[in-house]
Amino acid sequence: MRAFFSRRASLGVMVTLTVVACMALATPWAQPFRRAIRPGLPLFVIVLAAVSAVGQLVVGAVQLVSKPVSASERWRAAALPLSLGASALCMVLAFLPHPQRSLLHLFPLLGAALFAVAAAALQRRARARSDS
C-alpha cells in the first residue's frame, strides 16, 4: 500500500512539475529563455533519444535471445524495453533535419507517443503481475 502511494505521489509530482514548466515556458518573461534554448533543443533531443534508443533496443534484444525461459516469457520481458526503444527511435526520426517541415514529420512523433503509452501499459501490467 505504501509503495502504491509513493508511486502515485512520484507520478503526481512529475506530472505537476511538467505542467508547471510548460506554463512557465509560455509566459512572456520566458521568451528570451525560449529564444536562447531554441537552437540547441533538436540536437539535445537527437543525442539523448538516440542514446536511449540504442540502450533500450539492445536491452530488449538481449532479453529476447538470452533468457533461458519460454518464448512467451522472453517476449514479455523484451516488450517494455523494445517499446521504449521504438519510442526513442521515433523521437530521433521526428527531429532529424529535413528541408521542409511537412505532415510526414508528424508521423514519427505520433509513433513515439503511441509506443510511450504502450510502454506505460506494459509496465503497469508487469507491476500488477508481480504484485499479485
Binding site: R7, R8, S10, L11, M14, V15, T18, A21, C22, L25, A26, Q31, P32, R34, I37, R38, L41, P42, F44, V45, L48, A49, V51, S52, A53, G55, Q56, V59, L80, L84, S87, A88, M91, A94, F95, R101, L103, L106, L109, L110, A112, A113, A116, V117, A118, A119, A120, Q123, R124, A126, R127
Partner: protein, 333 residues
C-alpha cells in the same frame, strides 16, 4: 434551454436588423466610407508596367499592344492606361500613428502560406510599403506615397516590384493626379474610390446591431482568408498535434517511470529528451500562435520584436519598396 432559445432569438433579430439597416439605408450607413458622391474632386490614375528582358536583363516597358503579340509574355495588370484611385478614409483601420510594421498571415485554398507585411514610415499614416511573401519567399513589394486630404489619404504614387528568387522580374507603377476638366482629348478621370480595409465602425444602435450581425456573419460564414486565420486550430493544427504528441510521450514516460522498480540511465535520458521535445513543441506552437495572431502591430526598434535592429523609423530604402536582403529578412517570420 429557454435561455439558449432566448439568446438565439436575440441574435437572429440582431442579424436581421443589422442586415436590413444596411440594405434599406434608412439610418446612418454601416460603412466607414465618407459619402461624398458628386462633390468629390476628380482624379485620374495612370499606370505603366515593365518586365525584365531575360536576354538583356534590362527592364523594358511593356506596351499594351505588345501583350497580345509577344510570345510567352503575359501580364495580369494593364500595361498602361488609367486605373482606379485609392483613397483611405481618415481613421480607417490600417492607418498607423507611428512607425512600425504589421503582419497579416493567411493560407489560401492551395495551402500556400501568405504573409503581408505593412511597413509604416516615421510619422505613421497608411503603409509606406507592403511586402508580400508566399511560403516565406518574397514575391512582391510595393512602395506608396500618400497625400493627406480633408477626407482621408489619397495614394499619389505606387511602385510594385515583382521578385522571384531575389531577382526583379517586373514592375508596375501607378500615379494619381487631379484630373483636368473634361474636354477634347482629355481623359476626364473620376471620383476617388474610398477603400475599406476592415469591418465597419458605425455609431449608436446601428453600431451595436451591426456589430452583432457582422460578428455572427463573420463567425458563422467565414470569408476565404479569415477562415484560415483562427490561431486555435486552423493555421497551427500541426503544431497543436506535435504538442499533443509530445505531451503524450511525457505522460507515458511518467507512468512508466513511476511503475518501474529501477530507473535506468536509458530511461532517464529518454525522459530528458522527451522534456526537451515538449519544450520545442511548445515553443513552435507559441510562435505559430503569435505569428497568426491578428491585430499584432510591431514597432521598429522597440520591444525586442523581429524588427529590432533596423533603426528607429526603419530603413528608408525599405520604406521605398526595396527588396534588398536587409529589407526583407527582419520581417520574414
Amino acid at each position: 434551454m429557454k435561455y439558449r432559445m432566448g439568446v438565439a432569438a436575440i441574435a437572429a433579430t440582431a442579424l436581421i436588423a443589422g442586415a436590413c439597416g444596411e440594405r434599406d439605408g434608412g439610418s446612418a450607413p454601416l460603412f466607414t466610407e465618407p459619402g461624398f458622391p458628386g462633390s468629390a474632386p476628380a482624379y485620374i490614375t495612370t499606370g505603366s508596367a515593365s518586365i525584365v528582358d531575360p536576354r538583356t536583363k534590362q527592364l523594358r516597358v511593356v506596351k499594351p499592344s505588345e501583350l497580345a503579340t509577344a510570345p510567352g509574355v503575359s501580364a495580369s495588370v494593364a500595361a498602361g492606361g488609367t486605373g482606379q484611385v485609392m483613397l483611405l478614409a481618415n481613421g480607417a483601420p490600417g492607418i498607423a500613428k507611428s512607425d512600425g510594421y504589421y503582419v497579416e498571415n493567411f493560407v489560401d485554398a492551395s495551402k500556400h502560406q501568405h504573409a503581408l507585411v505593412l511597413l509604416y514610415g516615421h510619422f505613421g499614416g497608411p503603409p509606406a510599403a507592403v511586402q508580400h511573401y508566399v511560403d516565406k519567399a518574397l514575391v512582391s513589394t510595393t512602395a506608396y506615397s500618400w497625400q493627406h486630404t480633408t477626407t482621408g489619404w489619397l495614394r499619389t504614387t505606387s511602385l510594385t516590384r515583382v521578385v522571384q528568387k531575389g531577382q526583379l522580374i517586373g514592375t508596375y507603377s501607378a500615379t494619381t493626379a487631379p484630373a483636368t476638366p473634361p474636354g477634347p482629348g482629355k481623359g476626364g478621370g473620376g471620383p476617388a474610390i474610398p477603400v475599406r480595409l476592415e469591418r465597419p465602425a458605425p455609431r449608436g444602435l446601428d453600431r451595436m446591431l451591426g456589430g452583432v450581425a457582422y460578428a455572427l456573419a463573420f463567425a458563422i460564414a467565414p470569408q476565404d482568408a479569415s477562415a484560415q486565420l483562427s490561431p486555435a486550430f486552423g493555421a497551427c493544427a500541426q503544431e497543436w498535434l506535435r504538442f499533443a504528441a509530445a505531451a503524450a510521450i511525457i505522460i507515458g514516460l511518467d507512468f512508466t517511470i513511476s511503475e518501474m522498480p529501477l530507473i535506468t540511465p536509458a530511461v532517464t535520458a529518454q525522459f530528458a529528451a522527451a522534456l526537451a521535445q515538449l519544450g520545442a513543441a511548445e515553443d513552435a506552437l507559441l510562435r505559430c500562435i503569435m505569428e497568426h495572431q491578428p491585430g499584432t502591430f510591431h514597432s521598429f526598434g522597440g520591444g525586442g520584436g523581429p524588427g529590432a535592429g533596423t533603426g528607429g523609423g526603419g530603413d528608408n530604402s525599405c520604406l521605398e519598396g526595396s527588396y534588398a536582403a536587409h529589407c526583407t529578412t527582419p520581417f520574414t517570420l
